[in-house]
């Protein structure tokens, strides 16, 4: 979908057209679900948060300024929904989460259950502090400019740069260890 198509759809959606908004949901669902998963580290929770983000965006669609890009506006809402859900979940499951996090922080590269690259990468992402994880996912995986990420996460642009750098370094370490295993 081109930017022009998307702007036209967003404009129609802002007038309350559910089909136009549905088309935007179909376009952005994979990205929204990936970003929610990067925050929540659980598929079901991520889908709940992404869904809540889309529905909140739909309810607030008349506040959307159609002259601006739709994607950053949407992702801000999805990130907020995911953080809200995590906050609620943390209250309920603090003990279990601490236990899981401690286990995965020991050494994700040597986690016996992490057999393929995707699992290893997810495990490595889970060891990063959330802000670092979000910065590297939004920048390298989703292609957001650093200034926009700073605005989404509410942090200075310099901090985003630093988080991307440290996040990449940690992930690269894991990827190198996988490559070494494959070479042996």
């Amino acid at each position: 979908m081109t930017d022009v198509d998307e702007a036209a759809l967003a404009s129609r959606a802002a007038e309350g057209d559910p089909d136009a908004f549905g088309a935007l949901v179909a376009t952005h669902a994979p990205m929204a679900r990936r970003v929610a998963f990067a925050i929540l580290e659980d598929r079901e929770d991520a889908d709940d948060a992404a869904q809540e983000g889309f529905l909140s965006a739909w309810q607030a669609i008349r506040r959307y300024d159609a002259r601006r890009a739709f994607r950053p506006w949407l992702i801000q809402i999805v990130v907020n929904a995911a953080r809200d859900l995590r906050r609620r979940r943390r209250v309920r499951f603090t003990d279990q989460l601490d236990h899981v996090a401690a286990a995965s922080r020991d050494d994700p590269a040597r986690d016996a259950s992490a057999t393929d690259l995707g699992e290893r990468l997810r495990a490595a992402l889970a060891t990063l502090p959330e802000r670092q994880r979000m910065a590297v996912v939004l920048f390298d995986a989703e292609g957001y400019p650093q200034a926009e990420i700073a605005s989404i996460l509410g942090i200075p642009e310099g901090t985003v740069k630093s988080d991307v750098f440290h996040g990449r370094r940690a992930l690269r370490k894991v990827l190198e260890s996988v490559k070494e295993e494959w070479d042996e």
């Binding site: 179909a26 990936r34 889309f54 690259l117 995707g118 990468l121 995986a141 990449r168």
Partner: protein
């Protein structure tokens, strides 16, 4: 993979692609269907629409008050005041004049 540098402002396409694969969700179509089914229960809020009209209504009321005040201060007759208001409305130069004109014509 791109060079590691804290000052780098370019994306690492290879790492980005691997992360997208690792985080990729399943059953996108089912998810989209689920969201669309719930959209009917969560309609866009109309208070946003009312808020959008608030400032135009306020501008129209301000114009009406200024015109009425001017007519009263200059001792104009009711007929003269009506004519002044009409001129202001038809002129359309003041903000909100078209909204006020619409409300005046609707009541007559």
């Amino acid at each position: 993979m791109s060079d590691l540098s804290p000052l780098s402002a370019s994306r690492d396409e290879e790492l980005g692609g691997m992360m997208r694969d690792a985080l990729a969700p399943h059953h996108d179509a089912a998810f989209v269907t689920r969201v669309r089914a719930r959209m009917t229960a969560r309609q866009p809020a109309w208070d946003d629409e009312l808020a959008r009209w608030f400032w135009q209504g306020l501008a129209a009321a301000s114009v009406a008050m200024v015109v009425a005040g001017w007519a009263w201060a200059s001792g104009a007759t009711t007929a003269q005041a009506d004519a002044s208001v009409a001129i202001e409305l038809l002129d359309g130069a003041r903000p909100g004049a078209e909204v006020l004109l619409a409300s005046v014509t609707a009541t007559r």
